[in-house]
Amino acid sequence: MSKKPKDLPEQEQRAIAVSLGGAATQHTWRNIGLIVGREYKNRVTQRSFIISTIIILLLVVIGAFVPTIIQYFTSTSNVQTKIVVVDNAGPIAGLDGDALARYIGTALNGTAGTNAPGQNTSGKPPFAITIQTSNALGSLQNQVKNGNLNILLVLDRPTNQDVYFTYYTNANATGDTNLSKVQALAQQLNFLDIAHRLGLTPAQTSRLFAQPGFTVVNTGQGQNKRSESEMVAGYIIAIAGNILIYIVIVLYGMGVAMGVAEEKGSRIMEILVNAATPFQLMVGKIVGIGAAGLAQMTCIVAVGIGALLLQIPLQAALFGANGGGFTLNITGASITLLLLLLVYFLLGFLLYATLYAAMGALVKRQDEVQNAVAPLTSLLVIGYVVSFFGVYTPDATWMKVISYIPFWTPTTMLVRIGANGVAWWEIPFTIALMIVAIFVCAWISARIYRYGVLMYGQRPSLGKLAKLVRMK
C-alpha cells in the first residue's frame, strides 16, 4: 500500500472482500452439493415455477394437436360446396353438358390426397357440380345471395373469342379458399379450349402441360452426402435450438442473478459466507438453478416430441392412409446435431450464468437486477441475431470469426453446423475455447462475487470493477 492510511470518511463505499479460502474449502464438494440441492428443490417447488411449467406444457400439447384438430374439423364439418355452372359458351374444348360437369368435377375433387389434404376420400367429394341452363340465371343468383347455393359460375363466349368466366359467391373475399381453386380450373379450361380451337390433338395438348426435365446440381457442397430432407431438418433443429438457448439463458441467467440478489437483500448471505466460500455459493447456485432449468426444458421437449409422435397414429386413425400430413424424420445427422445442441446449450448457460451471478452480487436490491444484467443480455442478443445470417453464409470469414468468440459460439455454431458449413475440427476447437472462457469468467466472477456479497453501497463502475478483480 503506497498511500498512507487515513480515517474512513462517512458514506464512503467500501470494497469488502470475503476471504476466498479458509477452513470452508475442506468441504467444497459437500457444500456445493448441499447448495445445489437447496437451489434445485427451492426452484422446482416454487408455485410460479410449477404453474409456468404446466402452462407451457399445455401450450406445447395444444400446439402439437392443432393441425390434427383443424384437419379433423375441415374433413368432417365441411358440407359439400355446391357449384352450379351455367354454360352460355357452348362446348368448351369440345366438352359439353355431362362431359363438362365430369371434367370440372375431376379437376376440383379428383386429385384428392395430394392436392387437397383434409378431404375425406371415403365420404362425399368436397364439390358438387351441376350444369344448368341460362334461363334460370336470375333465380340462381338469388340462391347464391341467400346462401342456398355456394358458387355460381357463368361461362360466356363473346363472338369467336375466349371463354369469359363470371364467379358469383356470398363468401367473404379474404376467406374464400374456393376462389383460387375455381380460378385454376378456369385457367385450365381456357387453355384447353384455346388448344382445341387451334386444332391440337389431346396428345399434343397434354405435352404442353408436361413438366420439363430439371435437375439441381450443387457443386459447392460436394463433401455433403446429406439428403435434402436432412438439410431441412438440420436448419429446423438449429433455429429451434437457437431460440431455446436464447430463452433459457435469459430466463435462468436472470434466475441466477435474482437468486443472488435475493440472498443479499434478505441478508442470509451473511450466514452463508460464514459456512461456505463465495466460490462454493456461486457454483452451487448456478448448477442448482441450471439443473432445475434443464429438468423443465427436458420435460417440455419430451412432452412436445411425445405429442407430435402421437399425431401419426392419430391422423392415420382419423383420416386413413391419405391423412398423414406430418412425418418425423430423425436421421443420424439430426441426432448428432441434437447432441451438439445439448453441449453448446450447457456450455453457453454456464458461461453466461457465471456472469449473471456476478452481476446479481453487485446490486443492492432485487429490482436493480434488470438494469444490471442488461449488458449481458445485449451480448447474447448479438450472437442470436447474427446466427440468423449464418443460415445464408455459414462459411463466410466474418461468420467464422464470430462463431469462435465464446459468447456467440453456441448460437452461431449451431446454425453453421445445421447449414453444414463447418470443418470437423471447428467443433472441438470452439468447445475447448468455451471451456477456457468458462473458467476465466468463473474466476473473474468469483472475485467480483466475494467483493459484492457484503457490499450494500452504490453499484461500482466498470473501471472500479476491473480494479476489484485485479486486487488481491
Binding site: 500500500m1 498511500k3 492510511p5 487515513k6 480515517d7 474512513l8 470518511p9 462517512e10 464512503e12 467500501r14 470494497a15 469488502i16 472482500a17 470475503v18 476471504s19 479460502g21 479458509g22 477452513a23 470452508a24 475442506q26 468441504h27 457444500n31 448441499l34 447448495i35 437447496r38 427451492n42 416454487q46 440472498e263 434478505s266 441478508r267 442470509i268 448471505m269 451473511e270 450466514i271 452463508l272 459466507v273 460464514n274 459456512a275 461456505a276 457484503l454
Partner: protein
C-alpha cells in the same frame, strides 16, 4: 488459551478501519464486545470468523490460526438478520446445520431438541415468512447454534427483541455457557453486559480503549462518584462552591457528584455536617458501564470529528 487477537489491522481501499487491535477471550467466557456505531465491531467479528482477512496481525483459537479451525466450531449471528423467507423452518435449519458440518441425522436430532426448548416446535412445517417476528428471531438464533459450535459470535443479538424473547435468548446464552461454549457478543444494552459478561472490551475507531473483567474496569474508573441525600437541605447549593466537586445530577432521591481523584470522599461528609445537614444517604458509587462507555467514547469523540459509519 481461548481466542487471541494480536495486533490486527484492516483497511478498506485506503481507509484504515481497524488499528492495531488486540484482545483476548477466555475459553468458556461470555465476552462483551462494545463500541459505538462504526467503531469496527462487525469488521472485527468478521475477521474472527475468517469471513474477512486482516491485513496484518494474527487471530488464533486455542493456538490454531482461525483459518484452519473447522467451520463447524463457529456460530455466527449477523447484525442484519436474514433467512430464506420461502423455506420451511425445518428445511432451512437442517440445510444450514448440514452446511455447517452436521450430518443429516445429527441435524434432525439437534433440531428436535432446540425447537422444543424454544417452544416453536409447532412451527416447524411453516414457512419462515409466516412466523411472527419474535419466532423468526428464535429461528435465526437456532441457525447459529444448531450445529453445536464451540464459539458463538453474535452481533447485536438482543436488538429488536421484546422483553419476553430477550429473556428466552438470555436463558439460551446461559445454557450455552453451561455447556462450555465461548460467547462473544456485541450490544448497546450495557445492563445486559453487566448481567452476563465476565470480560469486556470497548473499542473506538478500530482501537481498543478499555479492556478487562467488568469488575476491573469498574474499579479502574470508579470511586469518584458520590451520592448524597440531606433530609433538611435537598438542594444543597453549597456543594457548587466546593473545589474539586462537580454536581452531575440533582434528583429527588439524591444528589450525584463527581469528585476529583485525589480528593477524599470524607470531605463531603465533613462539609455536610458543617452545613448542619442531616445525612440520610451517602455512598460511593461504582460507575455503570454506561457511564464508563460514555466517558471513554464521548471523551475521545470530542477530540475528533464523529464517525457515523455502520460497522
Amino acid at each position: 488459551m481461548g481466542l487471541v487477537v494480536e495486533h490486527i489491522n484492516k483497511s478498506f481501499a485506503e481507509f484504515l478501519v481497524i488499528k492495531d487491535l488486540s484482545m483476548e477471550v477466555k475459553e468458556g467466557a461470555i465476552f462483551g464486545f462494545l463500541g459505538a456505531n462504526g467503531a469496527g465491531k462487525t469488521t472485527t467479528m468478521r475477521m474472527i470468523l475468517d469471513i474477512l482477512r486482516p491485513d496484518s496481525g494474527r487471530i488464533a483459537w486455542n493456538g490454531k490460526d482461525v483459518r484452519e479451525v473447522p467451520r463447524r466450531n463457529w456460530g455466527y449471528l449477523p447484525e442484519e438478520r436474514g433467512l430464506y423467507p420461502k423455506m420451511k423452518v425445518e428445511e432451512l435449519l437442517i440445510f444450514l446445520a448440514r452446511l455447517n458440518g452436521l450430518t443429516k441425522v445429527a441435524a434432525e436430532k439437534a433440531l428436535d431438541e432446540w425447537l422444543e426448548r424454544f417452544q416453536i416446535a409447532a412451527n416447524r412445517k411453516r414457512r419462515v415468512e409466516e412466523l411472527s417476528k419474535g419466532n423468526q428471531q428464535k429461528v435465526q438464533f437456532l441457525a447459529t447454534i444448531l450445529h453445536d459450535p464451540a464459539i458463538l459470535v453474535m452481533d447485536e443479538p438482543f436488538s429488536g427483541l421484546d422483553p419476553v424473547n430477550a429473556n428466552v435468548l438470555k436463558e439460551a446464552f446461559l445454557e450455552m455457557h453451561r455447556r462450555g461454549k465461548t460467547i462473544i457478543f456485541s450490544t448497546h444494552q450495557l445492563e445486559q453486559v453487566e448481567e452476563l459478561c465476565q470480560d469486556i472490551v470497548i473499542i473506538h475507531k478500530g482501537q481498543t480503549i478499555v479492556q478487562g473483567s467488568v469488575q476491573e474496569v469498574k474499579r479502574q474508573h470508579g470511586r469518584n462518584v458520590v451520592r448524597l441525600k440531606l433530609d433538611n437541605d435537598p438542594e444543597a447549593r453549597w456543594l457548587d462552591t466546593l473545589e474539586g466537586v462537580q454536581v452531575t445530577k440533582r434528583r429527588q432521591d439524591y444528589i450525584e457528584m463527581r469528585i476529583q481523584a485525589h480528593l477524599n470522599p470524607n470531605l463531603i461528609v465533613e462539609a455536610a455536617l458543617q452545613h448542619d445537614g442531616i445525612i440520610s444517604r451517602f455512598e460511593l458509587v461504582e460507575p455503570s458501564l454506561t457511564d464508563i462507555f460514555i466517558e471513554q467514547v464521548g471523551m475521545i469523540d470530542l477530540l475528533d470529528a464523529p464517525s457515523v459509519l455502520s460497522a
